[in-house]
């Protein structure tokens, strides 16, 4: 497992060797903050010193931005042929998958934490509940990991980054939509309620919601961690073919 460290370092610094990191970080902060100040966000109208409204856009924002980070993970290696180099170095598939995933996850965490100025803003405007702020950040980071696991898997399937992006987007959209009432009621019309409920349980949105209300439920944490574990396991299997 000691091989993860050099792989992580190369991948993480790789974002900053090209304009990717700077474009992404700026876009992430600008889009997320302007959404909450926009008429859709209603940040001021809510008259509430909390980040609930700011984070309510995250599941939607991640839908586009996480595939943008995840799409290059394996597709790029396949396209440039460096995958042959990587897999003839003394590293196992698992180490390679983990090293790359953790680097991308750390990068997303950095993006999420760069919104910390929003927390200072609400602290200036009122008295926020810091417990809720911390749990929301924790939830966002875990949710980003879940999205990223799915996108990393999709990226391993193709050497075309556009296909990788679209596959990631579709898979994440499916996992997000599962939780919405319109979707579940459609499912309930032809499936038993218990089955529809079970499927709805796989949604990012349902598991994220608790965190935004300051509740760190073990089930939600386990959901995101096991989603990451499962997708990364499949990732190794796909690369082993």
């Amino acid at each position: 497992m000691s091989q993860i460290c050099p792989l992580f370092k190369r991948e993480f610094l790789g974002y900053f060797r090209s304009p990717v990191a700077y474009v992404f970080l700026v876009a992430f902060v600008v889009i997320s903050i302007s959404l909450s100040f926009s008429p859709f966000g209603g940040f001021f109208e809510s008259n509430d010193a909390s980040l609930r409204l700011y984070f309510s856009f995250y599941p939607w924002l991640f839908l586009f931005l996480v595939p943008a980070v995840g799409m290059r993970l394996w597709s790029e290696e396949r396209r440039t042929g460096t995958i042959e180099l990587l897999f003839t170095l003394p590293v196992t598939r698992l180490e390679a998958v983990l090293g790359k995933f953790l680097a991308a996850w750390a990068f997303l965490t950095l993006a999420i934490l760069s919104s910390i100025t929003m927390a200072f803003t609400i602290a200036y405007l009122g008295k926020p509940d810091w417990g809720v702020v911390v749990s929301t950040y924790l939830g966002s980071i875990l949710m980003a990991g879940g999205y990223l696991g799915v996108c990393s898997l999709m990226s391993a399937l193709t050497k075309n980054q556009v296909i990788s992006f679209v596959l990631g987007l579709i898979a994440c959209a499916a996992l997000l939509m599962l939780g919405f009432s319109g979707f579940t009621s459609t499912l309930e019309s032809f499936l038993p309620v218990a089955a529809a409920d079970a499927i709805a349980n796989f949604s990012f949105a349902t598991h994220f919601e608790g965190f935004t209300r300051g509740i760190i439920d073990a089930r939600d944490v386990v959901f995101f961690l096991s989603l990451m574990g499962f997708t990364l396991f499949l990732n190794v299997v796909v690369l082993d073919r």
């Binding site: 060797r17 897999f87 003394p90 590293v91």
Partner: protein
Amino acid sequence: MIEVKGLVKTYGTKRAVDGVTFNVRRGDILGFLGPNGAGKSTTMKVITGYLPPTAGSVTVNGIDVTQDPVATKRLIGYLPESAPAYGEMTVTEYLNFLADIRGYRTKEARQAQVERAIGLTHLEGVRRQTIETLSKGYRQRVGFAQALLHDPAVLVLDEPTDGLDPNQKHEVRLLIRQMAAEKAVILSTHILEEVDAICNRVIIISQGKIVSDETPEKMHARKSGARLDEIFRQLTLSDV
């Protein structure tokens, strides 16, 4: 050092490598010759552990490549065809990353290996340039530096002189010959003069099968006075 026994590799229904058996000892420079698509690269990819064999076995220094791939990969330096590299890194960053992966964990140890590889392949002038800005010849040399970095006991080079100008070709050949005494080297090529210049053994492979395995001198003796490419053509004609 390398023992290949009854190696078969199929892609779908196509047999790319069909029962190849040979071994390479320390001090050997084995030239792997054959028309395009004969199975040279595939054989090398199995030896280096990139592709699993369909049947047969490959051992490096007595270790089976499917049993303990990480151990055999440590022993091998591999230059893949067209020398892929992480283009956004500079030459020094790239080689430092590889030294790290190759187990040189202290900064001094890494630096020593990187300097040695840069010196051997004459990359001093471009060390701070990103790899994507380099010309083909330099990129090939970076690939070469990558393969030599950990002073491996086994070198597997897939068309090492491809894309180099005559002077660079000469230099690479010289380098391979200098190092060969304490290493086992396999190199693939379709440049026949190269075999004469550096190899002490030649395997000709055609349609996934070995059609000859001998020294270059013996090969010349097959048909006295004939040029190597005539003999090559005769042996691989069924492929055309």
